[in-house]
C-alpha cells in the first residue's frame, strides 16, 4: 500500500507538501515513547503517535521510519512540520484516536512491525 492510500484510510491530512507519498508501506507501529520506537520499530514502518514535538521526526529519521501519523487531531508545532519538510518525511495528522486509527489500518491489511523489546524487564521508575 502506498502512503497515499494509507492516508485515505485514516482520513488523514499531510502537513508537509514536499513529502513523497508514493513510498510503499507494509506495516505500522504505534508508540509514544521515542526510546521504544528506536528499540522496537523495524525500518520502513509508519509510526502512529500522540507526540507532536520535533523529536518525533528526528526519531523517525534515525530509525528509518517511512511516515509519521499524529493521532487525535493534534496539530504539531511549526518546528516539527519544518523539520519533517527538511527531512522529507511525510507528516500526517488524523482526527481518529490511536485505537481507531490502528484498528482501521489493521483491517486494511497492514501488519504490525513492532518487535518485542526482548530480555529486558521494564520497572517503571
Amino acid at each position: 500500500m502506498r502512503v497515499q492510500e494509507f492516508i485515505s484510510i485514516i482520513n488523514g491530512t499531510v502537513l508537509n507538501p514536499s513529502a513523497d507519498l508514493s513510498t510503499e508501506v507494509s506495516g505500522c507501529g504505534a508508540a509514544d515513547l521515542m526510546s521504544d520506537v528506536l528499540a522496537s520499530l523495524q525500518p520502513a514502518t509508519v509510526l502512529l503517535t500522540g507526540l507532536c514535538n520535533p523529536q518525533v521526526i528526528r526519531t523517525a529519521q534515525m530509525a528509518d521510519i517511512t511516515a509519521v501519523v499524529i493521532v487525535r487531531g493534534k496539530n504539531p508545532a511549526l518546528e516539527t512540520i519544518h523539520l519533517a519538510e527538511t527531512e522529507r518525511i511525510p507528516l500526517i495528522t488524523t482526527p481518529m484516536g490511536m485505537f481507531e486509527a490502528c484498528g482501521r489500518l489493521y483491517q486494511a491489511g497492514l501488519i504490525c512491525l513492532e518487535g518485542p523489546v526482548v530480555n529486558e524487564e521494564c520497572h517503571n521508575e
Binding site: 515513547l33 525500518p43 528526528r58 528509518d64
Partner: protein, 332 residues
Amino acid sequence: MEQPKPPRSRIMTDKEAEHITRSEELAYELKVAEVMASNPVTVPPEMKMREALDIFRNHQISGAPVVENGQLTGIISIEDLIRSLIQSDTDAEIRGYMSINPHVVYADDPLIEALKTFVSTRVGRLPVVDRQGNLIGILTKGDITRGLLKALQSDYQTEEVRRYRASHLFEDIESERTSLILRYNIKAGDFAHGGSASSKIKRALTRMGASPQIARRCGIATYEAEMNLIIHTTDGGVIRVEIEPHQISVDVYDYGPGIKDVEEAMRPGYSTATEKVRELGFGAGMGLVNISRCVDLMKLESQFGKGTRLRMKLNVLSQDLGGESRKNDSGG
C-alpha cells in the same frame, strides 16, 4: 521576495507535483536568463506574413519577436498567421497583424516573475530583455518546465556526486591507517536542536557508503547519547565520531554532573528524567539499553561531580551484513 506562490493547477502537472516545493523554491532561485532560449529568431515588421510562415516552419517555432532598428516593437505568433490565412491576406506585412507593446521580462528577474506574467496575461511567449531594453532571448512555458526539471535533476546529481566522492575517500587517500573525525558540541537543554548532530552523523555515514543498517544503528546510538547530553549535563558535551573503513568509534563526553551509580543507570527502566523530558517521549530509562543494543562495544565511565564518558564501537564488516539482530547482550 514575495509571499504568494504560483497557482499550481495552471503550471504544474501531476508528475511535477511530487517535487512541488522544491520546484517552487527553484522558481525563486532560478533567473529567467538561466532557462530562456538565447539568440531568438526575430523578424522585421515589413516582412510579409507568408515569409514569416516559412521562418516558423524552418525553425519549428510558433512565435517570434518583431524588431525594428534594434528595438522590440511587437510579437507575432502562429495565431496571427492563421488569422491572415483565413482572410487570404498572407501578402500583408507583419506590422498589420502583430501584437504591439508586448509584455516583457527581464533577464535577471527570478523565474517566478515570468510565471506570474504568464498566468495573468495568458500569452504563449515572453521576450526577454536586459536592463537596457535590448532583446536577448525568448521564454515559453515549455522553457520554464524544462529549466525546472533540469535543476531538479542537477540537485539529485549533486547529492550523487557528494556521495561518490565521500565513498571513495578512503581509497583516494593513502596512509597506514586513515580515519575521518567528526566533532559536534552539544549544548545542555537545547531540546530544539536535539538530534541534529546525530542526523548529520547518519547522513555522513550514508554518503560514505555505509550500509543502511550500520547508518541506522549508529544513528540511533548517537541520538540517544545526544539526548542524554541535552537532558542531563550541566554544561553540555561533545560527540566525537571516528570513521575508519573497518570500524566506527563514537566518544561522547561531558564535564558534569556525572552519574552516581553507573550500574544502576544501565538498568532498564531506571531514569532520573524530569516531567518535561518525559513529555518529549524520552526519560523512560531505555536510552543506555538502546545504545548497547545498537553497538558492538560500549563502555560507560563516570565520576560523580566530574563528568561522564561513553565510548562505543561499531564493527564495519567488508560485506557489512550487520543489523540490530546481530546484537546480543544488553550491555554492562
